[in-house]
Symmetry: C2
Subunit: 398 residues, 2 copies
Amino acid sequence: MKTISEALNLILAQADLIESETVSIHQAYNRILAEDIKADRDYPPFNRASMDGYALNISDWNEHGLRQFKVVEELHAGAVPTQKLGKGDCLKIMTGAAVPPEADAIIKVELSAHQGTTVSFEEIGDLKKWRNIALRGEDRKTGEILATKGQLCNAAIISVLAVIGKMEVKVAKLPKVSIISTGTEVLPPDKTVLPHQIRDSNSFALQNLLKKFNIGLEHKILVPDDKTLLREAILKGLQSDILILSGGVSMGDADFVPEVLNSQGVQTIFHKIQIKPGKPFWFGKKENGTVVFGLPGNPMSCQVGFRVFIEPYLNAKLGLPKPQSLYLPLMGTHQKRSKFTEYFPCKIINKNEKTFIKTHEYNGSGDIAAMIGSDGLAAHPAKSKKLNENTIIEFLPW
Amino acid sequence: MKTISEALNLILAQADLIESETVSIHQAYNRILAEDIKADRDYPPFNRASMDGYALNISDWNEHGLRQFKVVEELHAGAVPTQKLGKGDCLKIMTGAAVPPEADAIIKVELSAHQGTTVSFEEIGDLKKWRNIALRGEDRKTGEILATKGQLCNAAIISVLAVIGKMEVKVAKLPKVSIISTGTEVLPPDKTVLPHQIRDSNSFALQNLLKKFNIGLEHKILVPDDKTLLREAILKGLQSDILILSGGVSMGDADFVPEVLNSQGVQTIFHKIQIKPGKPFWFGKKENGTVVFGLPGNPMSCQVGFRVFIEPYLNAKLGLPKPQSLYLPLMGTHQKRSKFTEYFPCKIINKNEKTFIKTHEYNGSGDIAAMIGSDGLAAHPAKSKKLNENTIIEFLPW
């Protein structure tokens, strides 16, 4: 039986980086960059007025001692000056406008008195060059990398793609994923259930966990514990890059999943992990092909298995850094019965401007609603029986 | 000029809860529940085997001292027993199967020796009633609330909708939102720019920030600093529930936004907030109608304004609790020049299993790429000039 880190390493070893595709800036949200994004020109692209005021040449002020200037023009953002500034000239300029080459300082409007075509200023001593001007290229130089391969295309990145006029961008392709829920007792949610039957929840949990990555499904199949039907379902599922099964991976007489997978050429990489919940986790791969995750059928085990093992796999496959944990103090205590590392749902709670994680109440790993209202999973390490108040522990946000 | 909390209160006072609509379970991801979700039956719905083993009546074991039983049947999950258990009978049962009414304990398979139709067990002392059985209703009772109005439909909630057979769910409607970017210097990103022009980024930032809420746009308009064109754009935008403008809200000669809004019947609720960046924030409302946010045109101010003011507004409007901050220690220090509360982009960093926030490097609020690579915004409170290493500060994740 593998430890959690052994299992994770074996899983990540199969996460070859997926190829890329080009999408429009309008489709890029939440996709992962597969190319570095470079500045198309200097930013600011011109010497930019950072205040509303009067642009002038500092030699007029500092050397010639002028305090009264002729306003030759008014320059708004987006406009081009029609006049050259001569000695004693200035132009009224608005924030965001391109400062003409003859000007090298702006005196803000609040320090001026403007009458007709003349403006005079308060005495403010010598002017520093580039006062109230953001210099061309002072933020970013042409060719400078603004965002890197492997970053998630969020609003900040997409807004920069727009700034640099990049209407199409290379992103990681989305892997093809199929889901198979197994169990003779499991019916589709739109069917009437008899007292000994339950409705399928795992495929819905998994399908919606995948939406975080923008991944849709190739096939979603619900199959009873029947070898022939399971074989058919698996054959379909193996057409995808990733196949996720739930149920049928324990040691019961009807747990056919590993056997049928093997019979279809999927080799077992490992079976079982020292984790609670979710011990009967199965992982394998078809030669040159599909990676297969077999999750336990218990809803909580299934969701924990996804968060702890499949999510890091997807991050690696798509080129993202590994999912970020938080290390936060525990509010209250937590008791553990098994000898394994235990994951339990928690909420983030702020108290007196400090952030804690707090155990989220639920009734054991069979509780259908165990995860509702939780912000993520906390890890109770294998070695400690009890976590005391304020112990800093690892928290995996959803 | 309003303080941040005065401004936020004035904004939240306009956030009437939006009405609801019914969507399919397949469309519910990331929407906000507008009804409480109740258990359709007990969970587990039947006494459920939680181990593979043999189900028997404990009186046979405890009172009659039997240690050898006749296996009358094998019961898989999803199957119904065909035999009644008599004295000395047991049935082989699989995890997840419904335990028949005559049985009240399961002995796990590992403690058994099964030959033909007979199974004998190791001596394990008296059996406790309901050993290895999850009792009907022990997790949740019929009618119990599993998820509440105002929760985000994530994978956990949608999986429970499936379990209870709820194929349709009431969620908060999505408000109609329009965006207007203003500025004569601003061109659409697919156009060639001259040296004194820039491409529109704010509408892309805002449009993609709204995607967090699943909100698409009614209108997205780019308009120069021209009163007539701005009036036309605003008239269109006012057909939405929410209108967000960027630019044109400062005090410059071309900052027409407040004036034109007022002329179209939008009343100023406030203008300017004691915040950096983003001071020239404008907020107003048309009588019985559209709520209008006027954000500064500077890209960083625009994104900060959205995160600090518009996001809490949307949460309230949709019935969500307010966005959750984290309070984390600062790695490094942070110096502040203005007298206002200052928001600056930060990254979450783990060091020696402790979580910190760290200032994200950028070149000032005009830097187009300032937010890229940041995980959120940290708040430098107005009253302190310098934040020392390890000061706990408020962090607003993206």
